[in-house]
Amino acid sequence: MTLLLKDFSTGYENKIILNNTNFELKESEWIGIIGANGSGKSTLLKGILKFNPTFFGDVFLNGQNTKIFSRKSLSQKIAYLPQKINNSLNITVEELVSLGRSPYKSFWEFNLDEKDKKIINEALEILDLTNLKYKYINELSGGQCQRAFLAMTLSQDPEILLLDEPTTFLDINYQLKFLECINKLIKFKKLSVITVLHDINLACRFCNRIAIFKEGNLIDIDKPKKVLNKNNLYKAFDIDSYLIETPLGIQVYPVSKKI
């Protein structure tokens, strides 16, 4: 499924944060969004999900304008994992993951049918949570907890996954594992993914394309190799940088701006 943003402007209440954004997320593509604090990265995700009002422009899902989607039908297509997740929940992993089926249920429908159970078990399996499924969320480590929430979004059976800084609270090992999980999902489930990432180097290792935002404007979007150059990094983050070619691709070594 493709997601197309056309002249998209969004923000909070009466304030426009994000101006005139145009880009397209292709099927099975992973776009990483980078930018300084307050550059509108999270706002973009929330705008796509219609948490925040759209001021101008449109978002198209497979050519259909999302204006005509109801909350429920939108959440059957797009799943979202916010930056802050509640890891003190007193429910089991399995219960959490089954909540992902909510968009498919009317409010008098209580029980999960066979199909739901199959999807839930599959999600648990893909994220390697099967033997943790009766554990409570508040007993899990940070990495396991993050995986449990990802499994929940997966049981939503979405075609597009929006992740807001999913690796912030994880150590390096779990960061890599988590992002590898997402790679797996893209491959097997044909998901298209947008992640907001603070770590530029992780972004350029995993994402197909990188979008750089500055003060609510998209300043460049392309393959990591083309986007990450001194000029763009200077514009977006106000830093100088050295770029290093490694066997895994380009990596950025940032330094403070020389006066």
Partner: protein
């Protein structure tokens, strides 16, 4: 529950044996027993079950929606609204018959005011809801106190009994008016369990899972208010049931609202009928509100203490 029901039918200033109860329920046996059971004890038992279960579920709904374990049905100004209406009816000497309906209207009206205060654009903010409830409550409380001071002597007594909460002399009249809305609200309440589970994930996730915050908050609030208002209409302001019962059922069945909600209703009914039984046992009849507060407060402190010690262990 059945045991408590039987005991509470049997006990009282006149003891009736269990076999006599059966006879009386089917309108056989001694005339006096029939009268006591049908006119006094059965309606009172039903009233306590209805009131208790509505308070219990209402508390569970609100604690889930506000994600705050200190929330209780009275937080949204329900008590203040109906209290004010009742006190004014009693002090101005209107007919007592209107009390249930009036307290109902008062409660619902106040909750509407509080909701209106909390509404902003298309959103309902939790903090504003709580603060609005507190502000309206204290305003109405002040007016209520002023009215009480102005009232004639005999009427203060009547008003106070209501404010403390009592099931004394509740007959079929009150039950007839309130049982239908209570039943409907209990059913709808149980259906809201998934929305409560979703809300516990946090606002953003619950929206992205297809749940409209505005709609579910209005719905949950409406059901909780209806339940609490009906309970107040029958029994006056009975404290602590709505606060403690949800905690207790969460201890028993975990945090999945699919189980918490029905259990809260069940335990609420059970607790209140037991409390009412205790209230009737003494030589003088206590208002049941005193019993629930008297027993409820220490239990609540115990729960709080237990909670904080569990947290310390985890650290």
């Amino acid at each position: 529950m059945i045991i408590i029901s039987l005991i509470s039918l049997a006990k009282g200033s006149v003891y009736i044996s269990i076999s006599d109860i059966w006879l009386a329920i089917f309108q056989k046996g001694e005339q006096i027993n029939q009268t006591i059971i049908w006119k006094l004890r059965l309606p009172r038992l039903l009233a306590s079950l209805l009131v208790g279960s509505s308070l219990g579920m209402s508390g569970a709904l609100l604690q889930g929606m506000l994600r705050n374990g200190l929330a209780s049905p009275y937080l949204l100004g329900i008590s203040a609204g109906s209290g004010l209406v009742i006190v004014s009816i009693i002090t101005f000497g209107f007919a007592q018959i209107f009390i249930p309906i009036a307290s109902w209207l008062g409660a619902i009206f106040t909750t509407l005011i509080v909701y209106f205060l909390a509404k902003r654009g298309n959103k309902i903010s939790i903090e504003r809801l709580i603060l609005g409830g507190v502000a309206v409550s204290s305003l109405f409380g002040a007016i209520q106190a002023t009215l009480l001071l102005q009232a004639e002597d005999g009427r203060i007594q009547a008003a106070l009994t209501w404010l403390i909460g009592s099931l004394n002399a509740r007959g079929w009249e009150e039950i007839k008016i309130t049982w239908i809305p209570i039943f409907i609200a209990l059913l709808v309440g149980i259906l809201l369990s998934r929305q409560l589970n979703l809300l516990s994930l946090g606002e953003e996730l619950s929206i992205s899972l297809g749940n409209s915050l505005f709609r579910s908050r209005c719905l949950i609030g409406a059901v909780a208010t209806l339940l609490a208002a009906s309970a107040v209409a029958i029994g006056g302001l009975i404290g602590f049931i709505g606060l403690i019962v949800p905690h207790f059922s969460r201890l028993l069945v975990g945090n999945d609202y699919k189980y918490v909600l029905p259990f809260s209703a069940l335990i609420g009914g059970l607790t209140l009928s037991t409390a009412d039984l205790i209230a009737r046992l003494g030589p003088i009849e206590f208002p049941v509100g005193i019993i629930t507060s008297l027993l409820g407060a220490p239990i609540f402190i115990a729960i709080l203490y237990k909670r904080s010690s569990i947290k310390r262990e985890q650290k």
